[in-house]
Amino acid sequence: MSVLIDQDTRVVVQGITGHQGMTHSRLMRAFGAKVVAGVTPGKGGTEVDGVPVFDSVQEAVDRTQANASCIFVPAPGARDALIESVDAGIRLATVVTEHIPFHDMLIMYHYASAKGARIIGPNCPGIAAPGKSKVGIIPNVVFRPGRVGVISRSGTLTYEIVNGITEHGLGQSTCIGLGGDPVVGTTFVDALPLFEADPDTDLLVLVGEIGGTAEEDAAEYIRHKFSKPVIAYIAGRAAPPGKRMGHAGAIITRGKGTADSKVAALEAAGARVARFPYEVPDLVAETLKTRGRR
């Protein structure tokens, strides 16, 4: 088992004929994902690397039984693309697109929720279940099948940490990059129960960053409802207050959402918090050893 995706996941790539859509469809397939369809309005009937392209998600679903979508559509059209996939019956949509206005994302999130659909992202690396499937853009090379779950608000920092775990000789069950935008479809708290329920995950690595209260909320959940060991890292302890470090998720406002408050909350919930990314693999290995699992 894995979380959210597995070998039966049938991916439709929205925006497959763009540079990113095309490149990452290839990389997903190289990782073992079943990319069964692409959608680009007006390009229906063509193919990308042998993957059929349709004019609408509904056609793609009808013809290929796609059940997960990966959205590369540029920001001005991303909201429409998500609504289309939800209306076509897709219940898992990974939105890679960055710079989506949060006002659009509010509508996307609440509409998807009302329809029972889950969004990963936006502005996120997506999901990888090594040996099974991948939806999104996380580099293939960093993974190795294993029993460590990873959830993260960051992009490249996730790769860095997953790579460290792999170089340490361990592997991952599922890794989800949630994205760090002001409004995300799936938060730590939304993702934690999935890993709690996953028999293939022995330990969870949580990669957070300053800004917002997602890590504090996660700590609260972990304290009461999460039984597996958690190793965390919070980026931005040395970041200057009130300055943006690349995206809006990292503004510190009104003394909340600081690294200190997040670290304290997670430690109080029983998580071990690494001070630097390169400490994570050691803490993971050590914890698994203590627990007698691997």
Binding site: H110, G155, T156, L157, Y159, A235, F276
Partner: protein, 377 residues
């Protein structure tokens, strides 16, 4: 983030029917006097510097006038100010109203709830950060039905408004909600919101428009916020760039990795001065531009820390090598490079050919750049 000056924010308010004092903008003392003389702005009036920073009242950037000559004098005084680093170029003149009470009202985003949130407090006219939590109502608003009657009644209750004043609030809140939703605002704030007789008037206006929504709002394109000149250039080139007071330049990709790099540098005593986040580019030319921009910031040493995903290692290596050839000798800097991830081998090879060594370990590379910058602070 597009922060609108008070007068621009009020122009938006006016469009949506938020009640405002009579007023007009002046850019010179003569213009200020003339507005009063012509009766465009009734006397007595208040004259406010149009700067983005707060605390104008205490800082001498707000004055009152009872005559056209006083208006001229006040305008002269304020236009001569440099307020918190910003030169005053515009004034807003407004009628002075008989204020019964000063209230606070805002709409912004509650990230945890994933909902817009209405905040209201009877303690307006002071910074909302200084008001205790129990005196602020926080009402989440679902975007689907929008602002509902009971939510407005809850605000009226905490603001102590009844009768015609509550009706005035009802209409004002509908207008404010429209501003928030239709203008793609991150924040709309009225502080103070004045009770004048039994009607409400927005004495100040703080409106911040979301950058990412700019494709829907060409009308805000020419309005800049409080970036430094280099940050402004970076923004035009779509490179995230932050300047601080340190001497190490950091080029990384992704906010999380950038912050982690900073954490590690600080651990070893380094003082990062410029952060440059390449984000998800895969264009060597953009990498070159980033390096040239970095050179202009004149760092003592530069740390390149890339984990290749969308941005591939060989792209970065090509852009870097290209940039190094174009940086004037006087602006060159010692460089420590660490490139990992997609196309790592190709990238390392390109760097090696240009005489640059990539260090695989984050810890060791961070230690190296701190040494290059003159050692721990």
């Amino acid at each position: 983030m597009v922060k609108l000056a008070e007068w621009r924010g009020k122009e938006v308010f006016r469009k949506y029917g938020v009640p405002l004092p009579k007023g007009a903008v002046a850019r010179s003392p003569d213009e200020a006097r003339s507005l009063v003389t012509k009766g465009t702005v009734p006397l007595p009036c208040v004259i406010k510097a149009q700067v983005l920073a707060g605390g104008r009242g205490k800082g001498g950037a707000v004055k009152f006038a009872n005559t056209p000559e006083e208006a001229h004098a006040a305008a002269t005084a304020i236009l001569g100010l440099e307020f918190k680093g910003e030169r005053v170029k515009e004034l807003l003149l407004e009628e002075k109203l008989p204020i019964a009470r000063e209230l606070y009202l805002s709409l912004t985003l509650d990230r945890s709830a994933r909902l817009p949130i209405l905040m209201a407090s009877a303690q307006g006219g002071v910074e909302i950060e200084s008001v205790e939590d129990s005196a602020i109502v926080r009402q989440p608003i679902h975007p689907f039905p929008g602002l509902s009657g009971y939510e407005k009644r809850r605000a009226a209750k905490v603001l102590g408004l009844i009768g015609p004043a509550a009706k005035s609030l009802d209409r004002l809140l509908d207008s404010l909600w429209e501003v928030f939703m239709r203008e793609d605002a991150e924040l709309v704030e009225i502080n103070p919101l004045a009770l004048v007789g039994d009607r409400l008037v927005a004495l100040d206006a703080k409106v911040i428009i979301e950058d990412d929504a700019s494709f829907r709002h060409p009308e805000y394109a020419e309005i800049r916020d409080d970036r430094t000149p280099l940050e402004e250039i970076a923004r035009e080139k779509e490179i995230a760039f932050v300047q601080l007071d340190g001497n190490i330049g950091v080029i990384a990709n992704g906010a999380g990795l950038t912050m982690a790099t900073l954490d590690v540098l600080r651990e070893f005593g380094g003082r990062p001065g410029v952060f440059l986040d390449l984000g998800g580019t895969d264009d060597p030319a953009k990498v070159t531009e980033a390096f040239l921009l970095m050179a202009q910031a004149k760092p003592r040493a530069v740390f390149l820390n890339i984990f290749g995903g969308v941005t591939k290692c060989d792209t970065v290596a090509k852009g870097l090598v290209q940039a190094m050839g174009n940086i004037p000798a006087a602006d060159r800097f010692p460089l420590v490079a660490r490139i990992r991830g997609n196309n790592e081998k190709e990238g390392i090879e390109i760097l090696r050919a240009a005489g640059i060594t990539s260090v695989a370990s984050l810890k060791e590379s961070a230690q190296a750049v701190v040494r290059e910058a003159g050692g721990a602070a």
